[in-house]
């Protein structure tokens, strides 16, 4: 299943937030979205997952999601969004219960996703007992449990310290190498963007327009070996971002 964003524009109470976003998200690719604060990245992600409707344009699914996918468009949130009153396995089973998956079938899935996110020992822990990185791994496990066709991630690592971030990023890369998931990944961190993205979409300041789409052809698993090329890409992205950020700063000063 591919996703196609068809000329999306949006305004909140008369303020234009997004303008004419036209973009393809092909199956099996990670598309990173970067842009200055307030340019509408989170809003765009909410449109893609169907949590909100744009004023103009639409998000199209091209082709059917895989038969076994319980929740084709699945979010991983910046603040984890775990239910504090449920244990780790309870949080995963939450998203299975409504599909009528209970008992042994649910246990098997929970066991599998917790193993894949290295959480097997913490199945009965409450969120308050976990570190930030573990909480985000629980959220990833929960997302994997519904076999998504496309993962929608809004700054999933930004609430974490930089060491944990490195480790989780490696996890995401490994996972992609194994499963080739499709993803839209919103971030402020250019390094994350060049390490994870097949495409990096740079949005302009508000109202967000597509300023440039940077393709990175190196396979994800080989990126560590091409540090030089990556830092060139990152420098290029930084140039683009800096212009936007500076312009945005000037505009705010005039208000």
């Amino acid at each position: 299943m591919d996703l196609h964003l068809d000329h999306i524009s949006h305004n909140y109470d008369g303020t234009a937030v997004l303008s004419d976003i036209h973009l393809d998200i092909p199956k099996g690719q990670i598309v990173c979205i970067i842009g200055p604060s307030g340019c509408g990245k989170s809003t765009l992600l909410r449109f893609i997952g169907g949590l909100e409707k744009p004023t103009e344009g639409q998000v199209l699914q091209v082709g059917n999601p895989p038969e076994d996918s319980l929740n084709p468009l699945t979010y991983i949130f910046q603040d984890f969004a775990l239910l504090p009153w449920r244990t780790v396995s309870g949080n995963v089973s939450l998203v299975l219960e409504d599909h009528g998956i209970k008992g042994n079938a649910a246990d098997a899935i929970i066991k599998d996703v917790l193993a894949r996110t290295k959480l097997s020992d913490f199945a009965d822990a409450l969120p308050k007992q976990l570190s930030g990185g573990m909480k985000q791994r629980v959220a990833i496990a929960r997302a994997l449990a519904v076999r998504p066709a496309c993962l929608l991630m809004d700054e999933p690592l930004s609430a974490l310290d930089s060491q944990t971030r490195e480790l989780l990023m490696d996890d995401l890369v490994d996972l992609w190498v194994r499963e080739n998931y499709t993803a839209v990944y919103v971030t402020h961190n250019l390094n994350e963007a060049v390490r994870l993205g097949h495409k990096v979409v740079v949005l302009s300041r508000r109202p967000g327009k597509i300023r440039e789409i940077v393709e990175i052809d190196i396979p994800l698993q080989d990126r560590q070996a091409h540090e030089h090329l990556l830092s060139e890409k990152q420098a290029h992205l930084w140039e683009l971002m800096r212009e936007e950020a500076m312009a945005a700063d000037q505009e705010l000063a005039h208000v």
Partner: protein, 273 residues
């Protein structure tokens, strides 16, 4: 470098950084309450024995205890207590049940909120005791009017606590539920209700105290049995020892309720940070 700092410390005054943290976090100290209690009772008893406190003004604690034992031996204690507890539990239970239902409705539905919230704001501040005569005309002098008073008195604070609790449930969690395609009913049951539980429990604490106050007031107006009736009779007979005994029973009731809710909070809200 260490040399340097040594010479510095000889010439300039060196001292630890002044400590400014701490405080603002009372700890549990289980022994304090019993000690305060024992000291107060001792002073009171001693004062009465030494004749500083006239028994007409305030009976000694031992006399009040004797009155309590007499009450127990005569079998009236059970009768008073069971009459009171039935009214209290009945009124509080149904008031809370209705309050939770209306509060959740006001928290979830636009129409319900627009209808319920102004009504609650208008009726909550009326002292329900003022309505008791009305209830007596409607429901008669028997149990119904007393239970209705307690029900009414607990209903409103419960509605307010519950819809406030529903309002304060993390919107991010609800959005998460929607993003995983949970049904409306699942979101209410598994996300909104547990999320509102802390506010509900503290609402129960308040409504239970209100229920005890209204219980006594209702029993003072007309009841054969009940702690309120017992206290009223003692007051009319100037039997101060019985009066103090009755008030002690009320206080113990309040303590018990607060203890039960405390246990519930411990068990049900274990997940709280």
């Amino acid at each position: 470098m260490s040399d340097n700092s040594l010479t510095r410390s000889e010439t300039t005054a060196t001292q630890p950084v002044p400590y400014r943290g701490g405080g603002f976090s009372p700890k549990r100290a289980r022994w304090v309450a019993p000690v305060v209690f024992v000291i107060l009772i001792t002073i009171w008893e001693g004062g009465a024995r030494l004749g500083w406190i006239s028994p007409i003004i305030l009976p000694a604690p031992s006399e009040a205890l004797n009155a309590l034992i007499d009450l127990y031996n005569s079998g009236d204690l059970i009768r008073h207590l069971s009459a009171s507890l039935q009214r209290l539990v009945g009124g509080w239970f149904f008031g809370t049940l209705l309050g939770v239902a209306f509060g959740v409705a006001a928290g979830l539905f636009t129409l319900a909120r627009a209808g319920i919230v102004p009504l609650v704001a208008a009726i909550f501040p009326i002292p329900k005791i003022a309505l008791l005569p009305l209830f007596i005309i409607w429901f008669g002098i028997g149990e119904e009017s007393k239970i209705a008073t307690i029900l009414f008195g607990t209903f409103f604070p419960t509605v307010i606590a519950v819809y406030g609790g529903v309002d304060n449930v993390d919107r991010g969690l609800i959005r998460m539920g929607q993003s995983f395609n949970l049904s409306w009913w699942s979101i209410v049951r598994k996300i909104i209700l547990p999320g509102a539980l802390p506010a509900m429990l503290s609402g129960f604490r308040i409504s239970a105290s209100i229920a005890i106050i209204l219980l006594v007031a209702a029993e003072m107006i007309g009841a054969e049995y009940g702690i309120g009736a017992y206290i009223l009779l003692a007051g009319n007979l100037m039997a101060m020892d019985q009066l103090v005994a009755g008030v002690t029973i009320l206080s113990l009731m309040g303590l018990t309720v607060s203890w039960i809710i405390g246990r519930l909070e411990k068990i049900l809200l274990r997940w709280r940070v």
